[in-house]
């Protein structure tokens, strides 16, 4: 048999095998899709688990069993509406499915009483009707501001199927892309992927088809396909959602990648902070193997490929592709020097290909629906969709998927609702600490790599962290530089020592000991960092540099006048009792260091004891205030 992917006589067999699997899968899904009994879906993912989705699921199962209700309780993934978790969907036979929000276990009895045991709606907890018409004041999901601009392709199955049941994925067209790929062969797969113009979603935006050609061109065996699921950018959690809500799309993409590049084995490297994705991916790999979709002669073809899940142990630079390779090789995850590139000498010095989760997850769609369909959304230059996670000072935290080229303000203001009431947008930090910052004046920027590059920034991997007027730029600079320093692997002096020096200077500025020469020193360190080997070292000062550019006035306020306008930098503020109030005993009681003291019935703050934690002001908001430490 020809493994290099020319047309093969076993095409008919492959399709027949796939159809058989598909038929069985449909049977399993039909029980869910056309329920004769009430179907209750509970979204259980990292975000909903944190607010008690496990308990909700258990309480619902218990209630259904105890009351012997005509209902099935099913687990599902995450819709991306983190702000409304835990979410429960209830579909009674012949009725529209209704989503309930903030459905913690204590609200289960009310839900059961009104919407499961009886034919009604638990109105006080409703979020939306899944589709169709609004129902008694409950809006349709697609009309919610968070949902309106979305084109859900990668996320089509998220919150719909049970991520732990492979049949659900297959019934939704899963592994059809693989069956097609096996029929047309590797070369044609690369052609299709190149035609779609898919580029790497991890941050570097390199064309996926080209990357695969490099590996295909390499003659040495074995070859490896590696998935970078070390989503280390703090504030980015789009990959997590895919891995735990629809694990098979990534697996299928990797198998297709293996076929296209003639690879033998794959690794999915998932960060340690994601235990649930690790668990679900392992389960998914197991199930794919059982169905003959992984392992020897996949779907009866001549192509064999297997993969395994590797759990990281807490290192940001392992998200750099060569750092990841070093980590796989049982060593410190220190990024290597390129060249050689992974396609020449990757893991174990063998030819390898590393792509991001989202890149692989797009591939089954391209193969199944064709490159033409896939690229019918997006901007003129950039096709397809991109997932984004919203967090920080925003009303609706969550994950969404929009066409490339969508406007940032549509996401931040439209979907996310902007900063909390009464505050104003200050800036947006996209795609991780190495990407830079976008001031509020640029909020209309289109989400395409070019517009970010023009500004000396990167679009990054999908995180959008929102700042409002209560946040301090220097405070955030310190955070990013601390992160860069903390996660530096220690190879390059400009990185491990440069970030340390930069952090010292920033801390000096924030404590009122800034010097006039500091600005120039920071710029010098910024220039030097281009000498670092990997992107971590090179990108380390990006955020600080762009914050100094866009918010120079605020930085100068810290530096020259020793004032923090947002009142956040602990070295530049002090807490004072502004006037006596009956709330001050509460402040005295809450203070963890006994710094709120009473002398002859008058309260004051003992500055030597105060750790500036703000608890007293929470208790007595008008009586205690923040004043400039160096002020009058």
């Amino acid at each position: 048999m020809d493994r290099r992917g020319k047309a093969r006589p076993d095409c008919i067999e492959i399709m027949a095998t796939y159809k058989e699997i598909r038929q069985a899968a449909h049977k399993a899904w039909d029980a869910v899709a056309r329920p004769r009994r009430t179907l209750i879906k509970v979204g259980v993912a990292t975000c909903s688990r944190a607010v008690g989705a496990d308990e909700t699921l258990a309480a619902l199962r218990r209630a259904v069993e105890e009351r012997q209700l005509e209902a099935d309780v099913m687990l599902t993934g995450c819709l991306g509406l983190c702000y409304a978790e835990p979410i429960v969907e209830v579909q009674r036979p012949g009725r529209p499915a209704v989503l309930y929000q903030h459905l913690t276990a204590d609200k289960v009895p009310a839900l059961v009483e009104r919407a499961i045991a009886a034919d009604g709606i638990a109105t006080e907890h409703t979020l939306a009707v899944v589709d169709g018409e609004p129902l008694g004041g409950v809006p349709v999901l697609s009309s919610l501001p968070f949902w309106r601009g979305q084109v859900r392709r990668l996320m089509a199955n998220c919150g719909v199927i049970d991520p732990e049941i492979i049949d659900h994925y297959i019934a939704h067209g899963g592994y059809e892309g693989l069956a097609k790929a096996l029929q047309i062969g590797g070369e044609a797969v690369i052609k299709e992927v190149s035609e779609s113009a898919l580029w790497g979603r991890g941050g570097a935006a390199f064309p996926t088809g080209r990357k695969w050609e490099f590996l295909r061109g390499s003659q040495r065996k074995p070859k490896y396909i590696i998935c970078n699921a070390d989503e280390g950018d703090p504030g980015s959690f789009v990959n997590r959602n895919l891995l735990e809500s629809d694990p098979h799309s990534t697996i299928e993409g990797m198998i297709i990648g293996g076929l296209a590049t003639d690879a033998d084995y794959g690794y999915i490297y998932i960060r340690d902070e994601y235990p649930l994705p690790v668990e679900r991916m392992r389960k998914a790999v197991e199930q794919a193997r059982e169905r003959g979709l992984l392992g020897e002669s996949i779907l009866g073809s001549a192509f064999s490929f297997d993969l395994e899940v590797v759990r990281g142990a807490g290192s940001y630079v392992c998200g750099d592709e060569t750092g990841l390779l070093a980590s796989l090789e049982d060593r410190r995850g220190m990024p290597k020097i390129k060249p050689p590139f992974p396609a020449q000498a990757g893991v174990f010095a063998q030819p390898s290909n590393v792509n991001n989760v989202e890149s692989y997850a797009n591939v089954p769609l391209i193969l199944r629906e064709g490159a033409g369909w896939w690229s019918n959304v997006g901007s003129e230059k950039h096709k397809g969709t991109k997932m984004w996670s919203l967090s920080g000072q925003i009303q609706r935290v969550g994950i969404l998927e929009v066409p490339l080229g969508a406007s940032l303000s549509d996401l931040i203001v439209g979907a996310g609702g902007g900063p909390p009431e009464g505050r104003t947008l200050k800036a947006i930090q996209p795609g991780g600490p190495l990407s830079g910052i976008i001031p509020a004046s640029d909020v209309d920027i289109r989400l395409e790599p070019d517009h970010f590059r023009e500004r000396g920034m990167l679009m990054g991997s999908g995180g959008l962290v929102v700042l409002d007027d209560t946040n301090c730029i220097v405070d955030l600079c310190i955070y990013f530089e601390w992160f860069a320093e903390d996660e530096s692997c220690g190879r390059c002096t400009t990185c491990f020592a440069g970030t340390r020096r930069m952090l010292e200077i920033l801390r000096r500025i924030s404590s009122g000991r800034g010097r006039t020469a500091d600005l120039e020193l920071i710029r010098l360190l910024g220039r030097l960092s281009s000498n670092a080997n990997c992107f971590h070292g090179q990108g380390a000062p990006t955020s600080v540099m762009s914050m100094f550019r866009f918010f120079e006035e605020e930085v100068m306020e810290h530096l020259e006048r020793k004032r923090c306008p947002a009142g956040r930098c602990p070295g530049l503020i002090r807490y004072e009792v502004l006037h006596q109030s009956e709330l001050l005993p509460l402040a005295e009681a809450i203070c963890p260091t006994g710094a709120v003291v009473r002398d002859n019935g008058t309260y004051r703050i003992d500055q030597a004891k105060c750790v500036k934690c703000d608890a007293c002001r929470e208790q007595a908001p008008y009586a205690i205030g923040v004043v400039d430490a160096f002020g009058p």
Binding site: P234, D272, E273, R311, S315, D330, R396, V466
Partner: protein
């Protein structure tokens, strides 16, 4: 606490099926840490033998990863999220308050080994920012006062009549308005 010989025997059992150049070292570290709560010193030479390398390189690898511990955890470990969403919503205030109440600095334990504050990276549960985790449960969104009350309760101190009770994960009210839009 198991003695050295028990540790050696157990580690050998745990890593028996692993081999070098097979992406197994991370798995070995996870298994050992799962068993003991940390990677004991005694494991280092055994791992070096297993993976055909030197104890120095094994220790270097252990030292590289922030989630691999080389000392036993305290009785109560409070994980403090260092992520940007938490930071913007006041996590540094929560940190200063927790350090004061629990009596230990970040990534340190109290001298009696009872409490430990541990810095963790963002896992994307940013709707709970600022948050801490304790025994796998997330607590958030926290105010500084709630964090103090919760930490005092953890230390077994009586709650203040005036302050709110310790809070289990509570959700922001922002989503509630949506049904009306």
């Amino acid at each position: 606490m198991p003695g050295s010989t028990e540790i050696v025997a157990r580690v050998n059992e745990l890593i028996a099926d692993l081999r070098p150049d097979n992406v197994d070292l991370l798995a070995a570290l996870h298994r050992i840490q799962h068993e003991f709560g940390y990677v004991p010193r005694e494991a280092v030479p055994l791992l070096a033998g297993k993976f055909r390398t030197t104890p120095a390189l094994i220790f270097g690898t252990i030292d590289f990863y922030s989630e691999v511990r080389t000392n036993p955890p305290a009785e109560e470990v409070v994980e403090w999220c260092s992520g940007p969403a938490c930071l913007l919503k006041g996590s540094m205030n929560v940190r200063r308050a927790l350090e004061a109440v629990l009596g230990c600095e970040m990534n340190r334990a109290t001298s009696d080994g009872k409490f430990e504050l541990r810095l963790v990276q963002c896992d994307g549960t940013c709707h709970l920012a600022p948050l801490v985790r304790h025994k796998g449960r997330s607590l958030g969104p926290l105010t500084v006062s709630r964090a103090i009350e919760w930490a005092r309760a953890l230390r077994g101190e009586p709650a203040l009549a005036a302050a709110e009770p310790p809070h289990e994960a509570e959700v922001v009210a922002a989503g509630e308005g949506e049904a009306a839009t």
